[in-house]
C-alpha cells in the first residue's frame, strides 16, 4: 500500500531538516530549501518536524495514492489538485485511496513540500532522510523521484475513511497556518556582515545595498547566482578554504555574487561578504529565477531575535495542530 509516481516532476527529492555532524567528511547538511514550509507541512498533519517531506519543484509530479491518507502541501502554490478538485496549500487534507495528486499551474513561489501523516517510510543515511544528489545517497536511493518509484507512509492509527463523507473524495480540515509574516516583503533579504565585508570600500558597500540583483536561471539547490552591479574589492586576494553555510554570500572573481543554498559545498575559498539571516531563508527559497532581490544589513542580535520569534510561532502552531487533530479523531470515534 503506497504512493506511486505516475509522472516525475522536474526535481522532487526527499528532504528533512538536514544531515548534521558530517561536514568534516565533506558531506554537507543539505535538507529542505525552505525549512519553514517543510516544518509546517509536518506540523499540519501532526508529525514531528524531523520526519521526511517531499520537496517539489515546478513542473511537479503526478502521484497516485493507493491508500487513504492525510497530507499537507506547503510552500509554493502550484495549484495542487486531487483528481479534478483543487485543494488549498497550508491546510491538512484527508484523501481517499486511488486519488491522483498533481500540480497544473505555478501561481507563487519556487518549491513546495508534501508531508504525509506518520511520515514517509524511508531508510536514513548517516542519521538523516535528506537526499545528497552528489553522493548519490540518502532519501530515495540518492536520486530524485522518477516514474515508477513508490513511497510508503509509516503506520498510522487513524482511520481516515471515518473522516471522509461517503460521497466525497477528500476533506480539507479547517485549520491552517498563517504564513503572512514569514513571506511578506519577499524581495527584501536581511543579511549580517561577513568576514570579508570590510575589504569592500564604502562605495562598493553602498552599491551592494542600494541595487537590486536578479536570480540567474542557472541557480539551483546548490546556489543562487546573482546578476547585477559588479562588486569589486580593492585588493584582490585568495582566501584559504574554510567552512561556508546555507545563506553565505560569496564574491566571485568576476565581481558577481552567489548565495550558497541548501546543497552548498562544505568549504569555499571565495570572500564571504555577508550571510542571509536564518529567518529569511524561507523567503529566499521561494524567490524564483528571474525575480529580483535587495539586501539590507542587520545585526546579529536582531537576526537572532527574528529567528526566535519565527521558532516560537512554529511551536504554537505545532501545539495547536496536535490539539485540533486529537479533537477531530476523538469526535470521529464517538
Amino acid at each position: 500500500m503506497s504512493l506511486s509516481v505516475i509522472k516525475a516532476g522536474l526535481l522532487d527529492t526527499i528532504q528533512d531538516m538536514g544531515r548534521n555532524h558530517y561536514g568534516s567528511w565533506g558531506i554537507n547538511p543539505g535538507g529542505s530549501m525552505d525549512p519553514y514550509a517543510a516544518q509546517v507541512a509536518n506540523m499540519l498533519v501532526g508529525n514531528c518536524n524531523t520526519e521526511a517531506v517531499l520537496e517539489i519543484h515546478f513542473p511537479g509530479p503526478q502521484i497516485l495514492f493507493e491508500q487513504n491518507a492525510m497530507i499537507a502541501i506547503t510552500g509554493a502554490d502550484f495549484s495542487p489538485m486531487l483528481n479534478d478538485e483543487p485543494v488549498p496549500p497550508w491546510q491538512p487534507i484527508v484523501m481517499r485511496k486511488n486519488t491522483v495528486l498533481h500540480f497544473p499551474k505555478l501561481k507563487w513561489g519556487a518549491r513546495c513540500y508534501l508531508s504525509i501523516h506518520g511520515g514517509f517510510r524511508i531508510d536514513q543515511w548517516l542519521n538523516s532522510y535528506s537526499t545528497n544528489l552528489k553522493a548519490g545517497a540518502g532519501g530515495l536511493g540518492g536520486h530524485p523521484l522518477k516514474k515508477g518509484d513508490s513511497l510508503s507512509p509509516k503506520e498510522s492509527v487513524i482511520y481516515f475513511a471515518g473522516l471522509l463523507r461517503k460521497d466525497k473524495n477528500s476533506r480539507v480540515l479547517p485549520w491552517r497556518a498563517d504564513t503572512q509574516k514569514t513571506y511578506r516583503f519577499l524581495n527584501e533579504i536581511f543579511v549580517i556582515k561577513g568576514n570579508e565585508w570590510d575589504q569592500l570600500n564604502a562605495s562598493a558597500q553602498d552599491s551592494f545595498l542600494e541595487n537590486n540583483f536578479i536570480i540567474h536561471p542557472s541557480s539551483d539547490r546548490m546556489g543562487y547566482q546573482l546578476k547585477g552591479v559588479e562588486v569589486s574589492m580593492e585588493h584582490k586576494f585568495d582566501l584559504i578554504s574554510s567552512a561556508v553555510n546555507f545563506g553565505t554570500l560569496q564574491l566571485l572573481p568576476n565581481g558577481q555574487l552567489i548565495i550558497l543554498m541548501a546543497d552548498h559545498q562544505t568549504t569555499g575559498g571565495y570572500p564571504r561578504l555577508a550571510h542571509v539571516i536564518s529567518s529569511h531563508l524561507p523567503k529566499l527559497a521561494q524567490l524564483r529565477t528571474s525575480e529580483c532581490l535587495q539586501f539590507s544589513i542587520t545585526d546579529l542580535q536582531h537576526a537572532e531575535e527574528l529567528l526566535e520569534e519565527q521558532q516560537k510561532e512554529l511551536q504554537i502552531l505545532q501545539r495547536a495542530c496536535k490539539d485540533h487533530l486529537n479533537e477531530l479523531v476523538c469526535r470521529a470515534l464517538t
Binding site: S24, W25, I27, K134, A135, T266, L307
Partner: protein
Amino acid sequence: MRDWLRKQPLGGIKDIIAGYSSVSLLYDPVFIKKKYALTSTVFEFIKEKLEEAWQSSPAKPTANEGELIRIPVCYDGAFGTDLDHIAQTKGLSKEEIVQYHYERNYYIYMIGFLPGFSYMAEVNKKLLMPRKINPVTVASGSVGIAGSQTGIYPLQCPGGWQIIGRTPIKLFDSEATVPVKLTAGQWVQFYPISKEEYES
C-alpha cells in the same frame, strides 16, 4: 581545537569543521539560547567557547602522530591526463613529475568540497600548477595538483585540478559504515602501480 570542542558537553551544535587555518562551529541559536538561558547573543556565547578552545588546545598540532595511509596510484598517461601539459609547462619529464609526486608524504589538512575530497600539502615546488580556468569532467579516483596542494577526487565531477594519475581505491563509499576513507590529520604516501595492477 576541533577535538577539544567535540569533547565539550555543548547542546545545539550542528557541526564543527576544521579548515586549513580556521575552525567553524555551526549551531542552533534558538536551542542554545533557551538551554543556557542566555541574555547576550548566542553568537557571543559561541565566540567565548571558541576562544576557550583556542586557549585550551595544545600549541603545536600533533601532526606527526597522524596515521600514515598508503595509496596506490597508476600514473599511466591514460589516467594522468594532464601529465603532458605539466611536463611542457614546468620543463620536466613525465617520470620526474611522477617521482616528485610520490617521493614525499602529504599531510591532510582538511576534507571538503565533496564527500571525502582531501586537501593535502605540500607538493614539491617544481610541481606547482594553477587550477584550470575551465573545469572538465574528472573520473572518480583521479589524483590531481592545484597550487601547492594535491588531492584525490572521490567522485566523478567537474574539476579544475591538474590530473596526474588515478587510484583504484574508493575514497568515498556511501554504503560503508564509515563512508569516507581519509580524514584530516592523517598522512598520505602515494606509491606507483602499473596499469595491469590497476586493472586487477
